[in-house]
């Protein structure tokens, strides 16, 4: 049984890391500046075994953020009731400090595509996404954070800017936002927009968590830079700079380093967390 009485009920304004099972021993022996961890909800929806046992231990000591990657909140079809029930079960069991999901879709007609796919920003999709957020917040009986996506393209039919769309979702649903500054940098580069302008237009009052992560560099058909949100390498310098600018505006926030592919050893990941902690120290 999980002891819920000692749970921390909000993410601390410190550095956190995306948790990987191979770091279980190192994280506990040498957490460095890491005060909280984030897990992908779907990896902890098994019935038992090591993943849940590790979480029983870690949640005694670290605040936990549950980050869903499979709910398909931006989908044009209804949310999967089975998946929502599994999520409710996990959140009730773990009582995490935060639950977040993505402004994206991944399931359509019962097929799960295992990627965060983009949607057009229209009045119609706004109403769909707001309904889905309402449904999630009602089911989980808590506020959720919604993360801005990384974009490689845009839709001709969009009538809202992404920041305007997110702002309106906050207004309609009362959800909070997870601001991924790497995604901002990736999208701005890919779509020829200003990352600073995006941050200026972002509803920063609603930000409950910030992400940084690594990206890869490619080019499109015309030789223009095309950044890929790969989470497979260290955070790039322009993204750290964008984090500094963002924190100067938001004040202290929980900052997470995401590294999901080609996961490095603990020392390397911890040094990224050190850098996030330094950025937070500049604000304090």
């Amino acid at each position: 049984m999980l002891d819920n009485s000692r749970r921390i009920d909000r993410l601390p304004n410190n550095a956190g890391v995306g948790y990987k099972p191979q770091h279980f021993d190192d994280l506990r022996a040498d957490p460095g500046p890491v005060k909280w961890i984030e897990i992908h909800a779907e990896n902890y929806m098994g019935a038992g075994g090591r993943p849940l046992a590790q979480m029983r231990v870690l949640s005694e000591r670290f605040a936990v953020s549950v980050h869903g990657v499979g709910l398909s909140i931006g989908g044009e079809t209804p949310l999967d009731p089975d998946h929502l029930a599994r999520l409710k079960h996990l959140v009730e069991w773990l009582n995490p400090a935060s639950f977040s999901e993505h402004l994206a879709w991944s399931t359509h007609d019962g097929q799960f595509l295992n990627d965060l796919l983009p949607l057009p920003y229209t009045n119609e999709t706004l109403a769909q996404v707001a309904n889905h957020i309402d449904q999630v917040q009602t089911t989980l009986n808590r506020q959720m954070l919604l993360e801005n996506p990384s974009s490689y393209l845009s839709f001709a039919q969009s009538t809202w800017s992404e920041t305007g769309f997110l702002n309106e979702l906050v207004r309609r649903t009362g959800c909070g936002l997870l601001l991924d500054v790497n995604n901002v940098f990736v999208s701005a580069t890919n779509l020829g927009l200003s990352a600073d302008g995006y941050i200026d237009a972002f509803p920063l009052h609603a930000v409950g968590e910030i992400h940084v992560g690594g990206h890869d560099e490619d080019t499109d058909d015309h030789g223009a830079p095309l950044l890929i949100d790969s989470h497979g390498k260290p955070v790039d310098d322009p993204v750290w700079a964008l984090l500094d600018k963002t924190l100067a505006k938001t004040g202290l926030r929980p900052v997470l380093v995401e590294w999901d592919n080609d996961v490095p050893d603990w020392t390397t990941l911890r040094s990224e967390a050190d850098r996030a902690a330094q950025a937070l120290a500049l604000v304090a």
Binding site: E42, N43, M45, G46, A47, G48, G49, R50, P51, L52, A53, V69, G70, L71, S72, G75, E76, T77, D80, D82, H83, R86, W105, S106, T107, H108, D109, G110, Q111, F112, L113, N114, D115, L117, P118, L119, P120, E124, T125, Y152, L153, S154, F155, A156, Q157, N190, L191, G192, L193, D218, D220, D221, H222, A224, L226, I228
Partner: protein, 251 residues
Amino acid sequence: MNPVQRRFREALLDAERAVPPDLQDGAGAPAGRRFSVYRNNVVVSLTQALHDAFPLTRKLIGAQSFDALAAHFVRKHPPTSPLMMYYGDALPEFLGSFEPLTHIGYLPDCARLDIAMRRSYHAADTPAVDPSAFQCAPETLIALRLALTPAAIILRSAWPVFDIWRMNSAEGGAKPRVMAQDVLIARPDFDPAPYLLPPGAADWLEALDAGRSFRDAHDHALQTTPKFDLAQALTIALQSGALTDSKTKDR
């Protein structure tokens, strides 16, 4: 209904289809290979999930062949649930009918072993029966009712899958000889392992799991396998933590 996501999905899994015309770059030009980022993410991430989930199958045919066949499989059988830990249930059957590999008859059962290992890993934690439960009066013992833990899975194969697994494991083993083998996949703590079952043991375990008493299950095993060795079967069941006397069985 809004067809945007349907068109998007259909083009994702079929590289022959045109990129949907409503997708564009920042300047309003057609999205072109920007769409390939998503195509690539989907196929690569699903292929990687299978790559990690089927270590024995992958080792048997080599990583390169495995990834090539996985790229076929993911287009034909995309996941139907966001629980990637259970993705790939259709792979054994797919392997049995995938022309370039049908000559490797044991491959589907090896994929079933990989699936059982993964299911066992994520199965509910149920305490195994304590060996002291068997130190009791004979009339108590014969009436004992036991069941398989959720983490215990029996695989009956016409192939020597246990020997194939052992030969390809870190410790290594002799080259398998052609024979049928029953394998128990179970998890004494958190790490599942295959255990070779002696003749009749699979029948015995399944009879216990079906709710038959210790004596009835033994009788049943002797019927199917006259040389059934209870002591040997019980030793393996206790070593592997496969049996429980817990009433709260939850699957």
